[in-house]
Amino acid sequence: MTLLRVDGLTKSFKGLRAVDDVGFEVGEGAILGIIGPNGAGKTTTFNLVAGALAPDAGTVHLDGTNITGRPPHRVLAAGMARTFQLMRPFYSMSVLENVTIAVLAGGGSRRTARTTAAEVIERVGLARWRDSPSEGLPTAALKRLELARALASRPRVLLLDEVLAGLVPAEREPVMDLLDELRTTDGVTLVFVEHIMAAVMRLSDSVLVLDLGRVLTHGAPEEVTRDPRVIEAYLGEEPDADR
């Protein structure tokens, strides 16, 4: 059953088409990876879906509800949360306080919010940092904090903006395990923008490839990565034998 449907998203900046007629569907509990070379419009698409930018044209439907152009806090109310590529903690607060606020924003009493937040923190494996100031956390912990904050509202769809960027390979595995679990155990639908092919291959049910603002192709990971158009978009030349 389609949970997230995007049709004909278009956005221009000063006469430049950053995103041109982008559309895709994501089924409930599925994982969609969005890839593309630099400048393909991935982040802009992401921001358009998440409500950080208003599209010039096109629609975004979440579980049948039209959420196009809604501001971020109302997108969240509809059940879709996002993380940021540049980690943005509430720097004056501890990890627990960061997540508590995220829980509070969804309603509920302050006492239960703390408990729920602690649970979420435990869930993403951040327990030992629970009371630490969020400012100055190492990258891996900050990434998890982003996840925790996004998960605090119990979203149905989670948008992840390069969640693995800045992590060394040893740190990536646990995060990918966590994302997998979120889908299987918690039933969260994931849409993630990513550069790291191994992650895309491992996690995605389907992959959307963008290039120059348009959808190049959309299909299963193995097909997409063997598609010569995709290879050319990335490498900009004739495909080589070993890829």
Partner: protein, 327 residues
């Protein structure tokens, strides 16, 4: 990683925004017409226009210094008006105690203010570079408080005045303007022109513009940014100082006079685009006109009110100013 557009390059911006200039002129003309209707007298209106432009030239000079400081050092210099007041009193003191001609005092003031600005920047502000904006604002505010109240303490609150020998009314375009005001305008334009030439044609000017455009990049190509910061701040305060000396024969010299120019300078800078030197000069003229013509449109209110109305409108509708930020 980033979504830098990969396709066609952006259209290069036209060097002079004719369209915008035309609409600004249109609004001004409309205001003048309305003022004529409101006051019913052509003479009154032309007086306002002439005074407005003449006063606007000086506003432009003051604002050029302020906007330059912002463009290069990213500092909102709330002490700008205080430096102007310092020059006012210095001029008064020089003229009253040695009987020298006010325009000779102009030369002295400009140099002294330049040196003072360099000192202040090196000594106090250098430590605040890179700090949050509010902190810098507060430091320059502190400076303003110190300078203005030192003037109050040493000179007292009584208003003083400086007379320009040979001052008389000169008929222009159906209105009458004091010679001192015309000379102040001329001086301001000349200095503004010199500043512009400095920025465009000299090596130092190019270095300044480079730092304004990109601090880190400028350092990488070997520009001594610390020296440029000091120089730029000094030039900025020199502009304020020169403007102070130029208007000394025109205004009542009190410790609070600087504050009035300060407010107007900020309005002009925002209107012209923070960091845009040419914009500052042109906007100075616009604000001068707004003040005088606005005073006709809203009789019974302070002319400053029309300035603020323009200010607030610009802040809301086009915060990058009429001419956009440069660099």
């Amino acid at each position: 990683m980033t979504s830098a557009p990969a396709a066609a390059p952006a259209r290069p911006r036209p060097p002079i925004p004719w369209g915008r200039a035309a609409s600004v002129l249109g609004v001004i003309v409309l205001a003048i017409v309305l003022a004529y209707v409101q006051s019913g007298s052509g003479i009154v209106v032309s007086q306002a226009v002439v005074t407005g432009i003449l006063v606007g030239g000086v506003y432009g000079l003051v604002a050029m210094g302020l906007t330059l400081i912002f463009g290069v050092l990213d500092i909102v210099n709330f002490a700008h008006g205080a430096f102007l007041a310092l020059a006012l009193f210095a001029t008064y003191w020089l003229v009253a105690s040695t009987g020298m001609h006010p325009y000779l005092a102009l030369g002295i003031c400009t140099v002294v203010m330049f040196a003072l600005g360099a000192l202040v920047q090196r000594g106090i502000l250098a430590g605040a570079m890179g700090r949050p904006l509010e902190n810098q604002l507060l430091i320059t505010l502190g400076l303003a408080m110190i300078i203005e109240n030192a003037l109050l303490m040493f000179f007292g609150a009584d208003p003083r005045s400086v007379a320009l020998p040979g001052d008389r009314g000169v008929p222009i375009l159906g209105a009458v303007a004091d010679l001192s005001r015309i000379l102040a305008f001329a001086g301001a334009i000349v200095l503004a022109g010199l500043l512009f030439l400095l920025l465009q044609r000299t090596r130092m000017g190019t270095a300044i513009r480079a730092v304004a455009a990109n601090h880190a990049g400028a350092e990488l190509v070997g520009i001594d940014t610390r020296r440029i910061y000091m120089l730029t701040f000094a030039i900025g305060t020199a502009c304020a100082g020169a403007a102070g000396a130029l208007v000394a024969p025109l205004v009542t010299i009190e410790p609070t006079t600087g504050a009035q120019f300060n407010i107007i300078a900020f309005v002009v800078v925002v209107l012209g685009g923070m960091g845009n030197v040419v914009g500052a000069l042109l906007s100075g003229l616009v604000i001068g006109l707004a003040e005088q013509v606005g005073g006709l449109l809203l009789p019974g209110q302070s002319p400053l009110l029309s300035v603020f109305i323009v200010f607030v409108l610009v802040l809301f509708l086009r915060p990058q100013g009429l001419f956009g930020r440069s660099g």
